[in-house]
């Protein structure tokens, strides 16, 4: 059986996918994961998940929408010009701008 492994490097961080292990059951998979995916790189926690239990959605599949294919400007802070805003709003907008830039960059490829 194949298991996908997600590693959290330090406390308070998100788990990230790092690879897989082949093992006959969950117990061995967890043991393998420790020596394969946490041997040199530090790990505070590992998630080990049976590959077959993972559902996959790929953006280029038919009927996959993700964020949608039509214009969705209405749901972004950048759509509204309101002048100077409190700091927490400005920060939210900056985060949105950076995501929008990333998305625009990808569609240009």
């Amino acid at each position: 059986m194949r298991f996908e492994v997600f590693r959290q490097e330090k406390r308070k961080e998100y788990h990230q996918h790092v690879g897989d292990v082949h093992a006959p059951d969950m117990e061995l998979a967890k043991q393998y994961a420790q020596v394969i995916h946490a041997r040199r790189k530090p790990a505070n926690s590992l998630w080990v998940v049976p590959k077959d239990e993972i559902g996959t959605v790929d953006a280029d599949e038919q009927s996959v929408e993700m964020g949608g294919t039509t214009q969705k400007q209405y749901r972004w802070a950048t759509n509204f010009a309101t002048g100077e805003m409190p700091e927490e709003i400005e920060e939210s907008e900056r985060e949105q701008q950076s995501v929008e830039r990333d998305a625009a960059g990808e569609s240009d490829d």
Partner: protein, 315 residues
């Protein structure tokens, strides 16, 4: 971990599902996050009529997206609460439906028309955003993760709210009058958003000691007034004479005359006993009950966590 150790270690994102948290912490965190999640759902509910009533296609899209975001925030927050192992999401939603679940005072007042919408979408959401920004440093890590995404989305809500405010404020004389009326009706409720000024609220002290809360209600209200009073003035809104607000320059602090606010009503609202608010709760409860059949039909046979089961999720 015992409570003393929790207080010692308390800091931003310090505790997560892998830590064994003592019961008082888990209960206090559940109460706080459940309250927050309920408020998202009830906030969505009072904005809901304006998806239909929005006066342009663009506004419809934005209001719909906003209500969608709020339900999404509820979804994130219930999970953060669930991970404390005290209550399941189903239990919390049932408590909201039957009137046991508590939520923010402002969402107990249904909106009469479009002119009232920016009172929620701009001022109340702005106040909520102030509080949420301070919760990025809460000690319950799953809560902080939910807050990250909420804050990321919320900037859109407040800017959209301000845009609606601007549009009405630059409309006809009648529009401006109706806007001022709405403001006067909502201003005292908005001032009450952060609770009474002279008490530390029953749970505030403990929640701050264990790092769940990072700012006092008083400081939050003050920061809110600093940022939003100038905005109200920018759009020509007159701040009502009562409740009296005094600015103390030496402390850079706004003093609100507590006795000018209706705390008896606030108390009734907080207990879910204010009749129009209660009707909101009950009507939502009836809608939830009306689709019970769907949840039963789709329930996986292996899952037994249906309404009525008692055992909270084990740690």
């Amino acid at each position: 971990m015992n409570i003393e150790q929790v207080k010692e270690r308390a800091g931003p994102r310090e505790f997560g599902p892998s830590d064994e948290m003592p019961e008082p912490y888990r209960k206090a965190a559940t109460r706080m996050i459940q309250f927050h999640a309920n408020s998202e759902i009830m906030g969505a509910l009072i904005e809901r009529p304006f998806i239909r009533q929005a006066p342009s296609l663009e506004r419809k899209l934005a209001v719909s997206a906003q209500v969608q975001d709020e339900i999404g925030h509820g979804q994130l927050l219930y999970r953060a609460a669930e991970q404390l192992g005290v209550k399941t999401r189903e239990e919390m939603l049932d408590e909201l439906a039957d009137g046991r679940g508590k939520f923010l005072n402002c969402f107990h007042y249904p909106l009469d028309h479009w002119y009232e919408l920016p009172m929620i979408m701009f001022f109340v959401d702005g106040a909520a955003m102030r509080r949420q920004a301070s919760l990025k440093r809460t000690s319950w890590e799953p809560y902080a993760h939910a807050i990250d995404k909420i804050c990321f989305e919320e900037g859109f809500h407040i800017k959209h709210g301000e845009d609606i405010l601007r549009e009405i404020a630059t409309g006809s004389r009648r529009d401006k009058e109706l806007l001022q009326d709405a403001f006067e009706k909502w201003w005292p409720r908005i001032l009450q958003f952060f609770g009474p000024t002279d008490d530390d609220s029953t749970h505030g002290g403990f929640a701050q000691e264990v790092g769940l809360k990072t700012m006092s209600n008083d400081d939050l209200r003050n920061a809110f007034l600093n940022a939003y009073l100038p905005k109200a003035e920018k759009y020509g809104l007159e701040i009502p004479e009562y409740p009296r607000i005094e600015y103390d320059e030496s402390r850079d602090h706004y003093e609100i005359e507590n006795s000018d606010l209706d705390w008896a009503e606030f108390e009734t609202v907080s207990k879910n006993e204010y009749p129009p608010g209660r009707e909101q709760i009950d009507s939502r409860g009836r809608r939830q009950e009306a689709v019970d059949w769907v949840r039963e039909a789709i329930m996986d046979d292996s899952t037994t966590a249906v309404t009525g089961t008692t055992g909270a999720a084990a740690d």
